[in-house]
């Protein structure tokens, strides 16, 4: 909320500077987000009048002017053309610094001395651009600071009022806070009205309007007053300026006046055109189904029974507390007014304003609770102001329906509780002194205080609310800083979170392999998911996304991985290794479970480019399916899990079918790995292959058996043998390996594929696989004979089962 400090100063007499006030407010919970000085830097520029204007003797486009600031005459050279003798202008003399940073000096232009400058609006920072110098209104007095002449000698506080402090959405509310913080008293009194002894000046009450309060829960108080014979016109300049400073557009004098009083008192007000109130009757009631209302903004609303309306005998005229209707509003033709000042219940107003997505200055205040006791005072202030600026005559009587007055909160506050919460002892008397400036009335009874809260502080209903006020007024900075007592025994409850540790450790491993971490949004685009054949339920599409691009809670990390690889190849590097370790989301309705969503931790890996960084002319190879497979196997092993990569019949079409595998762990699906199909690469405008994998990490990280079983080191040497096989192309490496492992003999310690060869002199349908076998025993040194025999046996089995022959 933006509010004028000059306006606040009408309510309290305070010497403190705007900065001091802003600091104090911020430190007491009303954060001042900005302090705007209107007309900053204009105080040194003064108003002046041009006495004469002559052509410069040595320059065609320049003129020499004689100007007066009311005390002395000054001769200066001016380049502008838009002024004439008699004009009022803005004058800056040598030594003055303008808002644009320019400091004036005495100069000589083509042999004529210039002792000042006539300023343009852009030089004064009043406009982005301007042609010619600024010409002021004729009636401007001479020799006064320009900011004063323009009504700009004010400071505007922009305050972030938290939702609990509806009472601070006004000049009065802020003034009360400042008064409490600086131990001051309010200067201005609220206008009073005694219902019994109506003593207002004005016409004798004419019972020309009947008000019926039907919904006295939703509307606790309804006040009104009639003013006749007003003249609708433009508001005075000073009022427009204050409204503008608070961001409110000027409409006409009556509407502006109700906004002005609302800003000052915090009480939303509404003016009806009396002539438009059908049947001379006002009803505060629930809307009926089927009723409609055309608002001041021209919107047609379909009303429902939960909406409170202000209606005449036949139709709703206004959406109570939110917005008036077009038909009953004040127009240029309006002569007589009915002014409304009411107290509407907060949650009802909020429901209605949310239902119609309409937040107005009025609804904003009612939602945050207004002061039921200020209705009449604000109404009086408004009628006084309207009489002043729009003329007319007010009824002497104020209508005030207040069947069940709102009770002030009575709260018991214990000094011991204050200490228990704040950690600092206050005596009951100290507390009393602290609460007094907030107009909280207290009686001390031993360590307890009986507190009565003023009607405008609807946020104070509980003991804890008052404890906060004690802390706020005492100053958070004055409360000591201590450390909590810690019961060490309770610390033993905290088990190390094995999963967190596993994730951290995996991240370190991936980093050491050269993978960098990505973080994508959890929502993504349906198009992207479709492109990569990721299905999702309609239930995981956001009802109110920022955009379609960010609308689906992602079921997979893979599509964004591909997208990011592609973007980076185009932007920065064609050699990339990325990982993302985040949640994916699935809609799954499980019988007996309330939560139909599953959030599981996935790991996605993506690689592209050469395996190594280029190094001189060393031979390099592009990353492939096999590289990623290695990483995956290593990850599984790290957590004591066995995974298998198998060929699958249902291969997603964006993968290269020969370079794709489904990943299984104990026969359940863990994920997938593959190289992208060349067609997809072409669509992505890529000339290099992408390898990607995604696994469900939750499955890998459950029941991790990271127990390390130590095996004794054999003191006897190993014996190595190569096995150079020729097999049919259809025989996979895995098939051969499995047999070697099973049938290699009890002394086979390990083996690995040493070479793969295709080509002459081997038959085209065959390939050569060379394995290196390692034999050893824990008991003795093996003999050549027994090793050879084991190898021969193995070879025979390989030949029988797979048709393998020795090369």
């Amino acid at each position: 909320m933006k509010i004028s400090l000059n306006w606040i100063r009408e309510w309290i007499k305070i010497d403190a500077s705007a900065e001091e006030i802003a600091e104090k407010l911020s430190m007491s919970g009303l954060e001042v987000e900005a302090l705007e000085k209107l007309g900053a830097g204009l105080d040194q520029v003064v108003t002046a009048e041009i006495l004469s204007k002559e052509k410069h003797p040595n320059a065609d486009r320049l003129s020499v002017c004689e100007v007066s600031n009311g005390q002395e005459n000054i001769r200066l050279v001016c380049g502008a053309q838009n002024m004439k003798a008699g004009d009022k202008v803005a004058l800056a003399v040598p030594g003055v610094t303008l808002p644009n940073g320019l400091t004036l000096k005495e100069t000589e232009i083509r042999k004529v001395k210039s002792l000042g400058m006539l300023c343009s609006e852009s030089e004064l920072g009043l406009a982005e651009e301007s042609s010619g110098i600024m010409i002021l209104p004729e009636e401007t007095p001479l020799g006064i600071p320009l900011n004063e002449a323009l009504g700009l000698n004010d400071e505007i506080l922009e305050i972030n009022v938290t939702p609990n402090r509806g009472d601070c959405l006004s000049v009065l509310g802020i003034a009360r806070e400042i008064a409490a913080n600086f131990s001051l008293l309010l200067q201005k009194k609220l206008p009073s009205y005694d219902q019994q002894n109506s003593n207002l000046e004005g016409q004798k009450s004419s019972d020309s309007i009947r008000v019926q309060l039907e919904s006295d829960e939703a509307c606790r108080r309804y006040c009104g007053r009639i003013i006749r014979g007003v003249k609708i016109s433009e508001s005075p300049q000073w009022m427009q300026a204050r409204l503008a400073a608070s961001g409110i557009r000027s409409i006409n004098n009556v509407v502006d006046a109700s906004n002005y009083i609302m800003l000052e008192y915090g009480q939303p007000l509404h003016a009806f055109d009396l002539a438009k109130i059908g049947g001379a009757e006002i009803k505060i009631r629930s809307a009926k189904s089927g009723e409609t209302l055309r608002t001041l903004e021209g919107k047609e609303l379909q009303l429902k029974p939960e909406n409170l309306v202000i209606a005449d005998a036949a139709h709703p005229m206004a959406l109570a507390g939110v917005m008036g209707g077009e038909d009953s509003g004040v127009s240029e033709a309006t002569r007589d007014l009915f002014l409304e000042s009411a107290y509407f219940e907060a949650s009802g107003i909020r429901k209605t304003s949310r239902a119609f997505a309409m937040q107005t200055e009025s609804s904003y205040r009612f939602e945050r609770s207004t002061d039921p006791e200020i209705c009449v005072a604000a109404l009086r202030a408004l009628s006084d102001l309207i009489l002043k600026i729009a003329g007319g005559q007010a009824d002497s009587k104020i209508i005030d329906l207040y069947p069940k007055p709102v009770q002030k909160s009575q709260i018991t506050l214990r000094a011991s509780r204050v200490q228990k919460i704040l950690g600092f002892a206050f005596s009951a008397q100290q507390i009393q002194t602290l609460l007094e400036p907030l107009q909280i009335e207290t009686q001390v009874r031993g360590e307890e205080l009986l507190c009565e809260v003023p009607s405008f502080r609807s946020d104070l209903t509980r003991e804890i609310d008052l404890i906060e006020e004690v802390a706020r007024l005492y100053g958070y900075q004055n409360i000591p800083t201590t450390y909590p007592e810690l019961d060490l025994k309770t610390l033993t409850n905290s088990k190390p979170k094995e999963k967190d540790l596993a994730i951290q450790s995996l991240r370190q491993t991936l980093l050491s392999w050269g993978f960098s971490e990505l973080i994508h949004y959890s929502f993504t685009s349906p198009k992207l998911l479709q492109q990569f054949e990721q299905s999702y339920a309609a239930e995981q599409v956001l009802a109110n996304p920022i955009s379609e691009e960010l609308s689906v809670m992602r079921p997979s990390l893979l599509p964004q991985m591909v997208q990011t690889l592609q973007k980076n190849i185009h932007k920065s590097s064609n050699q990339l290794k990325f990982f993302e370790m985040r949640r994916v989301y699935h809609f799954r309705q499980v019988e007996g479970e309330d939560r139909p969503f599953e959030e599981s931790l996935h790991l996605c890996l993506g690689m592209t480019g050469d395996f190594h960084e280029p190094y001189f002319a060393e031979k390099n190879q592009a990353v492939s399916f096999l590289d990623l497979k290695s990483y995956l196997l290593e990850i599984a092993q790290k957590f004591g899990k066995k995974i298998r990569l198998i060929k699958n019949n249902s291969i997603p079409s964006f993968f290269m079918p020969t370079r794709y595998a489904e990943i299984l762990m104990r026969n359940s699906q863990l994920g997938q790995v593959g190289e992208l199909h060349p067609r997809v690469l072409k669509d992505l405008d890529l000339a290099q292959s992408l390898v990607v994998a995604e696994i469900n990490l939750d499955l890998v990280l459950t029941e991790t058996k990271n127990k390390i079983e130590f095996k004794k080191l054999s003191p006897y040497p190993s014996i190595f043998r190569d096995l150079n096989l020729i097999v049919d192309e259809k025989v996979t490496c895995e098939e051969v390996s499995r047999l070697i492992k099973q049938k290699g003999g009890s002394h086979l310690l390990g083996f690995y594929l040493f070479d793969l060869y295709r080509g002459e002199p081997i038959d085209q349908s065959k390939k050569a696989l060379t394995f290196r076998l390692e034999y050893a025993s824990n008991e003795r040194t093996l003999t050549d004979d027994e090793v050879n025999e084991a190898r021969e046996n193995l070879l025979k089995i390989l030949n029988d089962k797979l048709g393998a022959s020795l090369r």
């Binding site: 911020s26 919460i421 404890i467 802390a471 958070y476 201590t482 909590p484 990505l518 973080i519 960084e613």
Partner: protein, 345 residues
Amino acid sequence: MKEKLLTSLESLQIELHDALKDVESPQGLQEARVLFLGKKGKLTQILKGLGKLDAKDRPQVGAKANEIKENLEEIFDAAELRLQAQVYEQAIAKDLFDISLPGRPIVQGHVHPLTQIYELATQTLEKIGFQTYSGPEIEDDYHNFEALNIPEDHPARDLQDTFYLPGLKWLLRTHTSTVQIHVMEQNEAPIRMIAPGVVYRADSDVTHTPMFHQIEGLWIDQKTTFADLKGVLTLFIQEIFDQKTQVRFRPSYFPFTEPSAELDISCVFCQGKKKNCAICKGTGWLEILGCGMVDPAVFKYVKYDEEKYTGFAFGIGLERLAMLKFGINDLRLFFENDYRFLEQF
């Protein structure tokens, strides 16, 4: 006879010195070794005369012969060292190695800056005595709002633009405070928990991303006070930044804490010394986290004895922390995954 033998032995040393003067190669040295110490070498030749000596003279000459033999071997060893040194020197002289050539590149991955901050903050808080928990991101209204004392139609809901799933029963959590409720529902006091995680708000502009990260903290015990909250959070901030960082607590409002506070830290860029500092806008202070004493209403929802227990809670935005810590100027960079950004961390 004895004297002659002794003289011959003595002179062998001088002869060897002379002989080695011109030797410049390992081969030359080997030849000299054979010549002097070989099976048919000079020493052996001299010792052949030993047999002709009187028995009483033999021990004396024998001892001398051993001494000379040791001396000769030392001379050879010294010569060998000298030659070897020459070989190294020559090799070094020929070596044109350029140490400024690049080595074989080692590629390390980069941890996302948000993860770095997440781990730094989490570890610091765990050191203080908090335990880490996590909770679901897709939540119901109860855990995200109601149990945190934000009833339907409460204006505080305006502070958070919420993403909803179809049917509006489920939503994306707008803060990690939801985990407070889960943890209190399942555990008795005392509680010392933190919950780092991702949160969502339907807001997207230069200073807001629709997804961001928070760490929630909660400390509940029988004697936990606002003064303790000041102590613990000051400790945390000074661990994360540095010991000289100033903090100030400013009253604020959150529905689930009372009293509530904003924690500001002294500007890490200008220490409040620059009037035109772009980061703190010349105020010298930066808003860093929200905190407060757990509102008794929250205790009611989770059925804790609100008279017996008190506690404090806080929530920190990790993006903000990372921006201050690393001097990152644009929030959106965190989620663009541009390698030129990532490789700086």
